[in-house]
């Protein structure tokens, strides 16, 4: 591209540096809206929240700088640990199940059957529905007295459950809710599946491999980049679960579904303790960052990129 640009500059009869300067200015102008937005709504707030986290700001009250007090308070805060635990359990339940179901769905939807497009649409649509609406829908499905969930249990002769009102079942109920939205991860897996070289499968067929061998030795290894991607996105997403919890249980029963972002919301907007909420938010950021970094490190061991250079 540089030679083309150079010939362009010669065609214009301008000196190289003035053209380049013009290009640089115009380039900066193009990204100026984004730059302004970045400073105003990302970098600025991030710096501000570091400062905020070290104050006891409560909106209508006078503000005091309290240093690392908020972080000390965190350690004693039962709800902090509870909400962190809730979120970790939820993530630990949801992410593996989500990856497995999305992968299975993708395998299923990869066959060349008639009307496969219709099936793909059916699997994908739930994932684009508004979270508010699906939260209400599943609240109703999980209704302990009249809901579909207990109706289905009744059909197979199992006793009805309290679902969202049961301390032990509440988080799994949320997991079920979230699993319904496997559509977008499934599409990513599907794309990955369709990118696997069919020659590999043919070679395996010649060697007499059965389905399972082909799956474990070819499909899964070739899918590891996509798997890694969905893993990261899945974890980052599930750590920030908010809307469904706010609508369906508002943290109950007995704080069993008080997820971390919901807790931050309560502190910041219900109790107006913005300083404390900022400290909480930064803890979340650090946790997510660490988790992501660890995964990237570990990824070298298990992710196979086809274009990998020999080490």
């Amino acid at each position: 591209m540089s030679s083309q640009a150079d010939s362009l500059r010669q065609a214009h009869g301008r000196t190289r540096s003035s053209f380049m300067r013009r290009e640089a200015i115009e380039g900066f102008l193009c990204i100026t809206p984004w730059l302004i937005g970045f400073v105003l709504f990302i970098a600025g707030p991030m710096l501000a929240s570091v400062w905020l986290a070290m104050t006891d700001y409560e909106i209508l009250l006078p503000i005091h700088f309290v240093g690392l007090d908020n972080f000390a308070k965190l350690g004693q805060d039962q709800l902090f640990w509870k909400s962190l635990w809730n979120t970790a359990v939820y993530t630990g339940l949801y992410v593996p199940l989500h990856l497995i179901t999305a992968l299975m769905a993708a395998l299923l939807l990869n066959v060349r059957a008639r009307g496969i497009q219709v099936y793909r649409v059916i699997f994908y649509v739930p994932s684009i529905m508004p979270a508010v609406a699906t939260a209400f829908l599943w609240m109703w499905i999980f209704n302990p007295n009249y809901g579909l969930a207990n109706g289905l249990l009744d059909l197979v002769g199992l006793p009805p459950q309290k679902w969202l009102f049961d301390e032990t079942l509440a988080k799994p109920s949320f997991v079920i809710m979230a699993l319904w939205g496997l559509g977008s991860a499934m599409l990513v897996f599907l794309a990955g599946l369709q990118g696997v070289d069919p020659l590999l499968y043919e070679a395996a067929d010649i060697d007499g491999a059965n389905f399972w061998t082909k799956f474990w030795q070819i499909t899964l290894p070739m899918l590891t980049p996509v798997l890694f991607f969905n893993l990261i996105i899945g974890i980052i997403g599930s750590f920030q679960v908010f809307t469904t919890a706010y609508i369906a249980t508002n943290g109950g029963p007995n704080n069993a579904t008080l997820f971390y972002v919901l807790y931050i919301y309560n502190q910041g907007w219900k109790f107006a303790k913005m300083g404390y909420a900022s400290a909480l938010a930064w803890i979340l950021f650090i946790i997510v960052l660490l988790l992501t970094l660890v995964q990237f490190k570990v990824a070298n061991r298990w992710v196979y990129y086809e274009t990998e250079k020999a080490k």
Binding site: L8, W34, Y246
Partner: protein, 305 residues
């Protein structure tokens, strides 16, 4: 499969009946495989669709009759008036919510399409110092949990006096929008041959003219994809409107639905009808623009979030 059979015939006619039988069995096995797959597909699709069916089923029940156990699937009679009641006679200004949501969504789409395509264009076509590092910065913002910036942003908007207006939800989209939209645009623009730019420059076009007259008309796929994702993000968004929109007249469908729960908490038939009304436009948009949805997901791996 048929070639395999015809290949087998000479062999069988030479007396190797076993080879013929092998291919016959293989085609039977294949048919069995396809049938099993079809059954699985049907079964799993049914499972995915059940919540929707239950949604509609409940929404058509007469008040009080949704409280039956075991669950009734087909309500008799089917009360389509519930939709009217939920929307117009609920005690909440749902038409207003719809209007607000539409305004915010359309404005967000315009803002994003403009600023993200411009930024993508800058990163794809222009050369300026620090360009690639800045692009890495753009990408890194994807990993940032929203809540970290939301608290100070809220306070900033409070300073501007923008609380309880649409501005906090719209203005940021005009200032760069989301990182993956910029990413999408950049990737797409990089696939457009530079010769077109060159030809335009030789004809005397300035950079903005190239952007507007050369690149944009060729970008329908990525424009559609980003438009759809922005539509989804805005229409479905909850926390933003929850935080910034306080008074009833300014609420969007998302927050309005929540308010509905407060008002008509136990009237599940109406709640389901209202939920269905909020879901419907998303379905319509999806079916109209299916191809670009899939394209966008596969390119970025995101979608609908």
């Amino acid at each position: 499969m048929s070639e395999a059979k015809s290949m087998a015939s000479p062999a069988s006619s030479a007396g190797m009946v076993t080879a013929d039988k092998f291919y016959q069995r293989a085609s039977v096995r294949h048919a069995l495989y396809i049938t099993v797959m079809q059954i699985l597909l049907l079964a799993c699709s049914a499972v995915m669709l059940i919540p929707f069916v239950w949604l509609i089923s409940t929404s058509l029940k007469i008040r009080g009759t949704e409280f039956t156990f075991p669950p009734v699937w087909i309500p008799r009679p089917a009360v389509w008036e519930n939709y009217y009641t939920a929307f117009f006679a609920s005690g909440l200004p749902f038409t207003r919510f719809l209007l607000n949501t539409t305004i915010i969504t359309v404005a967000s789409m315009v803002g994003t399409l403009f600023s993200s395509s411009l930024a993508g264009f800058g990163f794809a076509r222009m050369r300026f110092p620090g360009r690639d590092k800045l692009f890495l910065l753009v990408l890194s913002t994807l990993m940032l949990p929203e809540i970290v910036t939301q608290i100070p942003s809220y306070l900033l908007f409070r300073l501007f006096g923008w609380i309880d207006t649409f501005l906090p939800l719209i203005v940021p989209t005009f200032l760069g929008g989301s990182a993956f939209n910029i990413f999408l645009f950049r990737q797409f623009f990089m696939s457009i041959p530079y010769e077109l730019d060159e030809a335009a420059r030789i004809d005397g076009a300035g950079t903005m003219q190239i952007y507007w007259r050369v690149i944009m008309p060729l970008s329908k796929p990525v424009l559609s994809t980003v438009a759809i994702f922005t539509f989804l993000a805005s229409w479905n968004s909850f926390m933003g409107p929850l935080i910034y929109l306080n008074s009833l007249e300014n609420m969007t469908l998302a927050v309005g639905l929540r308010a509905f729960q407060g008002l008509r908490g136990t009237e599940w038939n109406l709640m389901m009808a209202a939920a269905a009304v909020m879901m419907a436009p998303v379905l319509v948009v999806f079916f109209v623009a299916q191809r670009y949805f899939i394209q966008g997901i596969v390119t970025t791996g995101f979608g609908g979030r």
